[in-house]
């Protein structure tokens, strides 16, 4: 036992501390989908957030130029990142901020390079939270970027590429949606029980249909 412990201690001494800290799964940065990993050709919300945070100075300049005395509040910008990594359909919800903020924020977002990616065009919404004090407006980098997730439908079923929305919906309704069965009126008993007397449920009760 002592020899075993000694061997373990020697081996532990040989291993660098970082390797021990990584655990059996290795360094999480070695994952292919680790945010910012160059191996992944898809944009994640983390990568979008990093690029938007890098543009905070631009947003700050817009707010400082447009706001002087408005109370603190919120605005947001929504846009679509196409596969070339360019932002389009940029719309600004300015909240209580003046109209002059809109073209400025649109220009900042249009200037961000998100990088070409292999995914579908990405709908993005980013809150622009600002506050105004004696030194002017300040923009607070928002920690979350909102993207619209794409619904994944029947991923285990092999289906033709040109399956129509109607066919797909029919398959989903048949296979996956636990729609409650229509309650049927209980069969009329031959001898009606007295009021308040319990009635045994019928054996073909639709509620028991699921247990097939």
């Amino acid at each position: 036992m002592i020899r075993l412990l000694t061997t373990a201690a020697v081996l532990a001494g040989l291993l660098p501390g970082a390797a021990l800290a990584q655990g059996m799964g290795g360094d999480p940065k070695d994952r292919l989908d680790w945010p910012g990993s160059p191996t992944d050709r898809y944009l994640t919300s983390d990568e979008l957030r990093d690029r938007l945070h890098a543009a905070t100075d631009g947003f700050f300049a817009c707010f400082r130029a447009s706001l002087r005395s408005k109370p603190e509040g919120g605005a947001s910008v929504t846009f679509v990142v196409d596969r070339e990594g360019e932002a389009g359909s940029i719309e600004v919800d300015r909240g209580k901020a003046p109209e002059s903020l809109v073209p400025c924020v649109q220009q900042v977002v249009a200037g961000i390079e998100f990088g070409a990616h292999d995914g579908d065009p990405l709908d993005v919404s980013y809150p622009l939270v600002y506050e105004v004090d004696t030194r002017g407006a300040r923009i607070l980098p928002y920690p979350i970027v909102f993207t619209r997730p794409r619904p994944v439908r029947l991923p285990l079923l092999g289906l033709p590429l040109d399956v129509t929305p109607g066919e797909l919906r029919m398959l989903e309704l048949i296979l996956t949606e636990d729609a409650p069965a229509e309650p049927e009126p209980p069969p009329e008993p031959e001898d009606s029980p007295a009021e308040g007397e319990a009635v045994e449920p019928a054996s073909d009760d639709p509620a028991a249909e699921g247990a097939e």
Partner: protein, 249 residues
């Protein structure tokens, strides 16, 4: 459709199955592969993209019609592989998964781009048996696991291919998968056979050609919220594919 729930009575199952039951899809295109990263264990991070796709679809032996492949164009999957072809990790499947996305059409092809090699070079009459697992992490809810039991054999290199080595393989695959999404609780079990031939260039140390065929029998079952069977679909699929290196390199 092997087992249908009572809810299916409300729908015209006949017209649905006539549209989706027997379908033959043909895809042609290019597979771009680029080395994106070398990991500390000398495994490679490879991005494999599908580009310049063209396809046709035919139903129940009918005439093939053009297939819109835009949804697949430019899609990629990243693989982390050892030099032997052993697949350590993959990502990007989520962008191909789901009905109407085409992932099921190309998943075998994409996995075959990183086909692993036998541990020894097979000699005539001395096949090299091998077994391994392949995990496809589709997304946070869906995973598919395959067990491969194959035997590699030495094969005849094509005529005129100087300095080439050919290895053929044949074997069986079993597959299990689960969709843990609460709105679509489903599971899949599959059994298939695989065969193929790889032609490698000894000089260029590269794969020149890889022809393969799969014959799958899969069963997809959906369950109700109380865990009982709701529906069962049995699918038979034959996948025939060929990968060829451009410019013979």
């Amino acid at each position: 459709m092997d087992h249908l729930p009572a809810e299916a009575d409300d729908y015209d199952i006949g017209s649905l199955t006539s549209r989706i039951a027997t379908v033959e899809t043909r895809l042609e295109g290019r597979v771009e592969r680029l080395l994106a990263r070398v990991f500390r264990d000398f495994s490679s991070g490879l991005v494999t993209r599908l580009v310049d796709l063209d396809g046709t679809i035919a139903r129940a032996g009918g005439e093939p019609a053009p297939l819109d492949t835009d949804v697949l164009e430019g899609k990629s999957v990243s693989f982390r592989v050892l030099p032997s072809g052993e697949l350590l990790d993959s990502s990007g499947w989520a962008h191909l998964a789901g009905a109407g996305r085409g992932g099921d059409l190309v998943s075998e092809l994409l996995l075959q781009t990183v086909m692993r090699l036998p541990r020894d070079v097979p000699r005539v009459g001395r096949p090299v048996p091998s077994s391994y697992r392949v995990r496809v992490p589709v997304d946070a809810f869906v995973t598919r696991d395959q067990n491969w039991i194959v035997a590699f054999e030495k094969a005849e290199a094509p005529d005129g291919c100087r300095g080439c080595t050919a290895i053929s393989y044949r074997g069986e695959i079993t597959e299990t998968g689960k969709d843990k999404h609460p709105a679509r609780p489903m599971k899949i079990t599959g059994k298939g056979t695989v065969s193929g031939t790889m032609v490698l260039s000894r000089g260029a140390r590269a794969l020149l050609q890889h022809d393969f065929a799969f014959d799958w029998e899969r069963t997809v079952e959906s369950t109700r919220s109380n865990g009982t069977l709701r529906g069962r679909v049995k699918q038979t699929e034959r996948v025939v594919g060929s990968l060829r290196a451009e410019d013979g390199k």
